[in-house]
């Protein structure tokens, strides 16, 4: 319980820093911290496979991609530029309203909260079984999507005229 609270506080603080820091490089590093604390929340919620995937794919892959993009596109002067547009106050109001609406909707919905029995060996075994039986077709489609994204990224960012 205390560990979950710690991870939640770290996640919220890191998320706020991601959207408010001026230096986009620091934003990317705080995004890594946020993703790691979300992985901790996943581990707490008995989703061990998902936590490992989160660390491998997000922190190991997407953060590296983002850091590369930041380093390839930022200039020396860009740390001094204003990073937010002029709609800041309006956006804060809209987002507070959105969070309040989602939370109110969750509180007003009568959900039968029955605790899932925790499996002793974790959920990885069942996840693998489900991915190759019930969810086999979405699994294959996801691989095609990844292939298309790979080719698309190469075509978009590759050198022209070769």
């Amino acid at each position: 319980m205390l560990i979950l609270l710690l991870f939640a506080v770290i996640a919220i603080i890191a998320a706020i820093l991601v959207v408010s820091m001026k230096n986009i490089m620091h934003c990317a590093l705080f995004l890594a911290l946020f993703l790691l604390s979300v992985a901790g929340i996943f581990f707490y919620l008995d989703a061990d496979f998902l936590g490992i995937v989160q660390i491998l794919v997000y922190v190991g892959g997407i953060i590296v991609l983002i850091l590369f993009a930041v380093m390839l596109t930022s200039r020396v002067s860009s740390a001094l530029l204003e990073q937010t547009n002029e709609q800041k106050g309006l956006a804060i109001a809209a987002c507070l309203l959105l969070a309040a609406a989602i939370t109110a909707a969750a509180f007003r919905t009568p959900l039968a909260t029955t605790l899932n029995p925790v499996k002793a060996e974790g959920t990885t075994h069942f996840t693998g079984e489900l991915l190759l039986t019930v969810y086999a077709l979405p699994f294959e489609i996801a691989s095609i999507v990844l292939l298309v994204a790979l080719i698309g990224a190469i075509v978009l960012a590759g050198k022209k005229g070769e």
Partner: protein
């Protein structure tokens, strides 16, 4: 019972992500805010899977596909940003108006 607090946590993180996507000028910052929103959705689904006894543990399977699509989205999005940067020498979205005519 941590069900509703965790739903509230995911709502807060989603709202922070929406704020970032609305106010960031840097296109890479907007992509990072999108990642925040994806993660809020994942926390929501995993929480529902733990406390609501879902069929076929759909709350574990769905985040796997969300993470897959997020990885594909990040790769293509960053490639588009790099390509735009080569053409326009900027990543600030209000300066990228080559489709406006």
């Amino acid at each position: 019972m941590m069900f509703l607090p965790l739903i509230g946590l995911s709502a807060i993180i989603f709202a922070i992500g929406v704020y970032g996507a609305l106010t960031r000028r840097n296109a890479i910052g907007i992509l990072m805010s999108l990642e925040l929103m994806f993660n809020a959705a994942n926390i929501n689904l995993v929480t529902a899977n733990k406390y609501l006894n879902l069929e076929n543990s759909v709350g574990i399977i769905f985040p796997i596909f969300i993470i897959t699509i997020a990885a594909a989205e990040a790769a293509v999005g960053l490639a588009i940003i790099l390509s735009l940067y080569r053409q326009t020498k900027t990543v600030y979205v209000e300066k990228i108006n080559i489709m406006k005519w």
